[in-house]
């Protein structure tokens, strides 16, 4: 009940932050962007509180079903975002990143049946210390990759504005420099990729313990491998063939699409062992 209210507060604050970032871009007033950062931070505080409340009512880390993972996923994305804002203060990243968070939470609010949101006891296969390691690294990894996605989209938007010399070009000027976008996107891919490797390895260790095989070509496993290979290819072509800028950004977008499919698509379209989240 209270948890629901806190969840709604987080959702409302993130929504308000998005609108403020739009206003910042339109009005070019720095102070608006600053305010938006604070609203986002407040939303993140509510998001954190929702997780803590779930932790208290479930008596375990809130990482065990689709609802809990999504709330934590949103939390992880905003965590990276706030760190970036604190450290570098990139303009307008929030405008591109928070909609991802918004869609995740809107999905919970609108689409998810309430039976899936309830606190449920852990099924035996999930009763393992590896649950926290595996899911916590997944949240951080997805957070970093979501940020790389937002930066890549910003790069592509800015590039197309510059090319077409449209009315948008003026708006796009206030986005961070293209080199900065490209470079930061790459850095977050390396962070997300490293963590994704950790997710896959911890999953393999756990699977070896729970299912008796470190790898069984389960759809979830396979899609995490596909995602991993896409990012691995992205890093290699960047390093060896100097694919930067647009090409690299396009791969980052495809990579994040694979991340989302690994999480949502596999659950909704492909059956497998990993059916809880």
């Amino acid at each position: 009940m209270y948890e629901n209210m806190v969840f709604s507060a987080a959702f409302a604050l993130y929504t308000a932050a998005i609108l403020l970032y739009v206003w910042e871009l339109a009005s070019k007033r720095k102070v608006v962007g600053r305010f938006a950062d604070y609203v986002t931070a407040l939303g993140w505080a509510a998001n954190t509180l929702a997780l803590i409340m779930r932790y208290v009512s479930a008596g375990r880390l809130p990482l065990a079903n689709g609802y809990e993972f999504l709330v934590a996923f949103a939390w992880g994305i905003v965590l990276f975002f706030l760190w970036v804002q604190y450290r570098y203060r990139f303009k307008s990243v929030g405008l591109f990143l928070l909609p991802v968070v918004w869609v995740l939470l809107a999905y919970i609010a609108v689409e998810m049946p309430s039976s899936q949101k309830m606190v449920s006891p852990l099924m035996p296969a999930l009763k393992s210390n590896w649950l926290s390691v595996h899911v916590a690294t997944a949240i951080l990894s997805y957070g970093a990759l979501a940020l790389s996605f937002a930066l890549a989209v910003m790069f592509l938007v800015k590039e197309s504005c510059n090319q077409h010399n449209s009315r948008m070009a003026e708006l796009c000027q206030s986005l961070p420099a293209m080199e900065v976008l490209d470079e930061s996107c790459y850095r977050f891919i390396t962070v997300g990729f490293f963590l994704l490797s950790l997710v896959i390895i911890s999953g393999a260790i756990w699977a070896e313990q729970a299912w008796g095989a470190y790898w069984s070509w389960d759809p979830k496993e396979t899609w995490s491998l596909i995602t991993w290979l896409i990012y691995a290819a992205c890093l290699h072509v960047r390093q060896t063939y100097g694919w930067r800028g647009r090409r690299s950004s396009v791969i980052a977008v495809i990579g994040f699409a694979a991340v989302l499919f690994t999480f949502f698509g596999v659950n909704y379209w492909l059956a497998g062992l990993h059916s809880y989240a």
């Binding site: 449920s120 099924m123 009763k127 930061s184 990729f193 390895i201 260790i205 390093q239 063939y241």
Partner: protein
């Protein structure tokens, strides 16, 4: 030029590797979305020939993975041969050359020239740089490398895959896997596990199932499945152990996993005059023959399909009778009630149910190598991504009473880190100076000396 390349050069190239990775991605997507189905006609031939019902265990997918592995091996060893050469290079540049760098800055400081030179090198060392320097035509030239070990990161990452692959191979060659549904009370050796391929009489120990039970939460959903077993070995006291989900039993390199459970049905078959002909446990749905007739039968526990069914709570059992392949009769019966089959008056009694535990039994000596490889993979990645490798080149030149400092740098991966490092080092050098007189890159604007 490309005509000069040997097939090995071409095979170990990044291009080949990327093509293989792309092929694996596409094949994997196909493998997860193509539903297993029965095709007919020529489509069916192709479907079966390409093993599309199970792409991940098909010959061509294995081939792709093997090619990718070979590409990785070839490329890793090639890199190993080129690395020492690259690491030996320690170039130095003069101020004019550094001015051509994309990332560079230049400023004036005051102080004792030789003293400042020494302190700059010391400063770089303190910040974790490896340095080298010389003096040439009035310029003190310094080279500094940060995160030099990072060059090894990529190599370690790639070699870690070789360790993982070795683990997979060892598992495939020396390991086995099988599964068994063992009723409570049963004793089995590894040689009796279907699919294990263990030769009879070579197992050394036997496993006895003492108990199977389900633990439940307050809302009756299962919280755990547990098998209590004893390990029986000649010339040793039996050892007790519990196998649960997420708690496999590891005994002498053989792992036992809790994989399933159910109830077997004890069947007693008697002839018309009451003489027992046969008795034993059958699994639900398993056909058993009625001796001396052409009849067969199956038994099942109807209640077991109900949600919330608990072991041992069934009150009715079901059976089906067949003559040859023809289905004769289906019915329900209580425990230990005679069911008459055929004209000769044989009876079948479903005496009781006995819980069984489904165990996955596995030996995989390659697993430690998989974890070792994974560990190196993470180390290699961390080195390659997070050591922030870059090189700085500094030149100090006495300029009247002042010293002109030029700082430039290069980085293969991380330009933002490079820019930050140049700025940080420049600021520290300015702090070395007694009085900061101005920053030339700042278009001659004097910067407040109050640092």
């Amino acid at each position: 030029m490309s005509g000069d390349k040997s097939w090995l050069d071409r095979f170990r190239s990044m291009q080949t590797g990327l093509v293989l990775v792309a092929a694996i991605i596409i094949a994997s997507i196909a493998g997860t979305v193509i539903p297993p189905q029965d095709w007919t006609g020529s489509a069916g031939t192709w479907y079966n020939r390409l093993q599309l019902n199970d792409v991940f265990h098909s010959w061509w997918y294995a081939g792709l993975l093997t090619l990718a592995a070979l590409n990785l091996i070839a490329c890793s060893f090639y890199r190993l041969t080129t690395l020492p050469k690259r690491r030996g290079e320690k170039p130095l540049f003069n101020s004019g050359q550094i001015a051509q760098f994309q990332k560079q800055t230049r400023f004036l400081i005051t102080g004792n020239y030789s003293d400042i030179c020494a302190r700059v090198v010391k400063l770089l060392k303190m910040r974790g740089y490896e340095t080298w320097h010389d003096s040439q035509s009035g310029e003190y030239r310094v080279g500094a490398q940060y995160g030099g070990l990072s060059t090894w990161g990529s190599l370690i990452t790639h070699f870690s895959f070789l360790i993982v692959m070795l683990g997979v191979l060892i598992g495939a060659v020396f390991g086995f896997q099988g599964s068994i549904n063992a009723p409570v009370g049963a004793v089995f050796g590894l040689d009796s596990i279907p699919g294990s391929g263990v030769a009879p009489g070579t197992t050394g120990f036997k496993v006895q199932i003492d108990d199977f039970h389900i633990e439940r939460y307050a809302d009756s959903t299962p919280s755990g499945y547990f098998s209590r077993v004893s390990i029986i070995e000649e010339q040793a006291a039996p050892q007790d152990a519990t196998i649960g989900v997420n708690q496999p039993l590891n005994y002498k390199g053989v792992k036992f996993y809790q994989a399933g459970y159910g109830e077997a049905i004890e069947v007693l078959i008697t002839s018309a005059d009451g003489k027992p002909l046969k008795s034993g446990l059958v699994m639900p749905g398993q056909r058993f023959a009625i001796p001396g007739t052409d009849y067969t039968a199956t038994a099942a526990i109807p209640a077991a399909s109900q949600p919330g069914y608990d072991l041992g709570t069934a009150s009715q059992l079901a059976y089906a009778i067949f003559q040859g392949n023809q289905h004769i009769k289906t019915g329900e019966t209580g425990f230990d009630m005679p069911v008459v089959i055929g004209s000769q008056g044989h009876t079948v009694r479903l005496v009781k149910t006995v819980p069984y535990t489904g165990l996955l039994v596995k030996k995989d000596p390659g697993v430690p190598l998989i974890w070792l490889g994974s560990f190196f993979l993470l180390c290699g990645m961390a080195m390659s991504f997070f050591m922030r490798p870059h090189k700085l080149w500094l030149v100090l030149r006495a300029d009247g009473a002042r010293i002109m400092v030029t700082v430039g740098g290069t980085a293969s991966k991380n330009q933002v880190v490079l820019a930050e490092s140049i700025e940080a080092i420049s600021n520290e050098i300015k702090r070395l100076s007694n009085l900061q007189t101005g920053d030339l890159t700042d278009k001659g604007v004097l910067v407040d000396a109050n640092v």
